[in-house]
């Protein structure tokens, strides 16, 4: 059961270029949490007709109100409006939407987050109670956000930057390759980030025969599966929908050439 409700902003801070917000979401988590990797669909003022999809970073059931955190970057009108909201303001939030990652709490996963794709992986780290390895990538050091949180909730954290300003100098898929070849004990690779990154990570995982799940982005309307605008091309020629069938897909399902 999804809900649409006014949710109060109870914390707001800047993390790198991004904004981190915690919301009181009533019973939204209790009513609709399935797995980390789901998203919320947020109304950004009266002037914009379309809600904006933002991944859940972390969330917890609580009384009287469940808590949910999001992390987002300002990209355009909607996220600019969102970044302008203050502590105590309310947001019109529809959620939780989507399916999230298919993962076992007791599993050992390699989590890969690129740029603004980092935050949703934190939920996966917390869900799997400290067993995961996280590989965080970004253009430069300041794009690697939430590293401290990951260090708390992961067994191991590796970083990669395009410019070498932090950790490995290069792309995350090189670290994925190194990690998978050194450690054969992963139950799967879970990734969120820009599409080219996802494609490369998926390729590496496939080489090692490790199942890989990726979180995809697409422009959305309803956010619940009714309007069919958020199509994602599948390898078998069909089209699935990011908001309802995703945003997480098995990497082998996806048509990477679309």
């Amino acid at each position: 059961m999804k809900v649409e409700r006014e949710c109060k902003i109870v914390s707001k801070e800047q993390v790198g270029d991004a904004v981190y917000m915690t919301l009181e979401v009533g019973d939204m988590i209790r009513a609709s949490f399935r797995a980390p990797g789901q998203f919320v669909h947020i109304r950004c003022g009266e002037g914009l007709l379309l809600r904006r999809p933002i991944s859940v970073c972390s969330c917890m059931e609580d009384e009287p109100d469940d808590l949910l955190s999001i992390v987002f970057e300002v990209r355009g009108e909607g996220t600019r409006w969102l970044a302008g909201r203050e502590l105590g303001d309310s947001l019109d939030v529809l959620g939780l939407a989507g399916n999230g990652f298919d993962l076992k709490p007791e599993g050992r996963y390699l989590l890969v987050g690129g740029g603004i794709g980092i935050p949703p992986m934190l939920g996966c780290a917390q869900y799997t109670g400290g067993r995961a390895t996280a590989i965080l990538g970004g253009r430069s050091r300041d794009k690697i956000i939430l590293e401290d949180f990951f260090r708390e909730d992961c067994a191991k954290v590796l970083c990669a930057t395009d410019d070498g300003s932090l950790g490995h100098h290069g792309f995350v898929d090189a670290l994925v390759r190194r990690e998978l070849s050194e450690d054969r004990g992963y139950d799967g690779v879970l990734a969120c980030g820009p599409k080219p990154m996802l494609r490369n990570v998926a390729k590496v995982a496939e080489e090692f025969g490790i199942p890989c799940q990726v979180s995809m982005e697409e422009r959305m309307g309803c956010g619940v599966g009714a309007c069919l605008v958020c199509a994602c091309d599948m390898a078998d020629g069909s089209r699935k929908h990011v908001c309802k069938d995703g945003p997480v897909f098995d990497s082998r399902e996806v048509d990477w050439d679309a």
Binding site: M1, K2, V3, E4, R43, G47, L48, L49, L50, R51, D92, L94, E218, R219, M220, G221, C222, G223, V224, G225, A226, C227, L228, V229, C230, A231, C232, D233, G237, S238, R239, K244, A258
Partner: protein, 306 residues
């Protein structure tokens, strides 16, 4: 809620209230049934069906514009047979009217679909003529009176007792010409407006936002065009009208009804607020009560032109 009679009749089909949801914006009802009881709706125009399943167009399929959106879904649907076996039984659980929306490549396809749907027992068939006619070289049926009439004729011939409502495209010089043609060919009702063709370009990438380059404009931006066209059509034909295009409040619905619509559909506004249809219904009731009306249907066609 004020004590106003909300029921309306559209081509012999009586609905508990005048608010239906617009085709393509509500899927087959499953998703929004998570938000409210579908029995609260006057009716549901289901997602547009084709004879065979279709995957629709590549994404991106949606773009935002000032008080509007563009879409280029392109009739993704499981086909009419899957609708009848998989979706119709679900919709039938609810006490609301089910209106199937169909698009064909040829008049024959419309005919086959009507036959199947009439057999399966939908409450009404909405014939979408905004799609290109493959035989006539990709020209949209909805832009030529003779083609629109042909499709209507074939649909009526195969729909048995089920009323046929023809949905008009606003992308025409003279909407009354098309309206008269489909009325002449036997349409039991007319719905309008479908989307207005538009385009948005990302000035940085220089790419159209939609992968199909252009798409259909809907949402509040088109409301004044919808009101004008409903008014024109209401004066041109006698069949009842389902009005739509940009409705997000009871007042918008009242405008369409005053202009001549017997009922209204809500589409795009659902995306901002899933509860819009119920709010529109309640807004209409308050407005009618405020005017001392006993029934909301008294609004239909009651505009006082200067």
């Amino acid at each position: 809620m004020p004590d106003v009679n909300l029921s309306v009749t559209l081509a012999g089909m009586t609905m508990k209230n005048p608010v239906v949801v617009a085709s393509g914006t509500f899927g087959f009802g499953r998703e929004y049934s998570q938000f409210f009881d579908l029995s609260e709706l006057g009716g549901i125009c289901a997602k547009g069906l084709t004879l065979l399943p279709r995957e629709g167009n590549p994404a991106p399929r949606i773009a935002e514009t000032p008080m509007g959106i563009l879409n280029s879904v392109g009739l993704q649907n499981p086909g009419v047979d899957a609708f009848i076996t998989e979706e119709l039984p679900f919709l039938r659980q609810y006490d609301t009217k089910v209106i199937a929306n169909i698009s064909g490549n040829t008049p024959e396809e419309y005919g086959i679909m009507c036959e199947k749907l009439a057999g399966a027992g939908v409450d009404m068939i909405e014939v979408n003529i905004s799609c290109p006619n493959v035989k006539a070289g990709g020209l949209a049926y909805g832009t030529r009176p003779e083609l629109a009439a042909e499709v209507t004729h074939v649909a009526k011939a195969h729909a048995g007792q089920v009323p046929v409502m023809v949905k008009l495209s606003p992308n025409v010089t003279d909407i009354t010409e098309i309206a008269r043609a489909v009325e002449g060919a036997g349409a039991d009702a007319i719905s309008l407006i479908n989307t207005i063709r538009g385009m948005r370009i990302d000035v940085n990438t220089r790419r159209p936002i939609l992968k199909m380059n252009t798409g259909g404009l809907s949402g509040p931006a088109v409301l004044p065009v919808a009101v004008r066209m409903v008014w024109e059509v209401a004066q041109a034909v006698k069949v009842p009208i389902l009005g739509m295009g940009g409705v997000s409040r009871g007042e918008d619905a009242a405008q369409l009804m005053l202009a001549g619509a017997s009922a209204v559909a809500v589409g795009t506004a659902l995306f901002a607020d899933p509860y819009t249809p119920l709010k529109v219904r309640d807004g209409l009731a308050v407005l009618a009560a405020g005017q001392g009306l006993a029934a909301v249907r008294e609004l239909t066609g009651k505009v006082l032109p200067w």
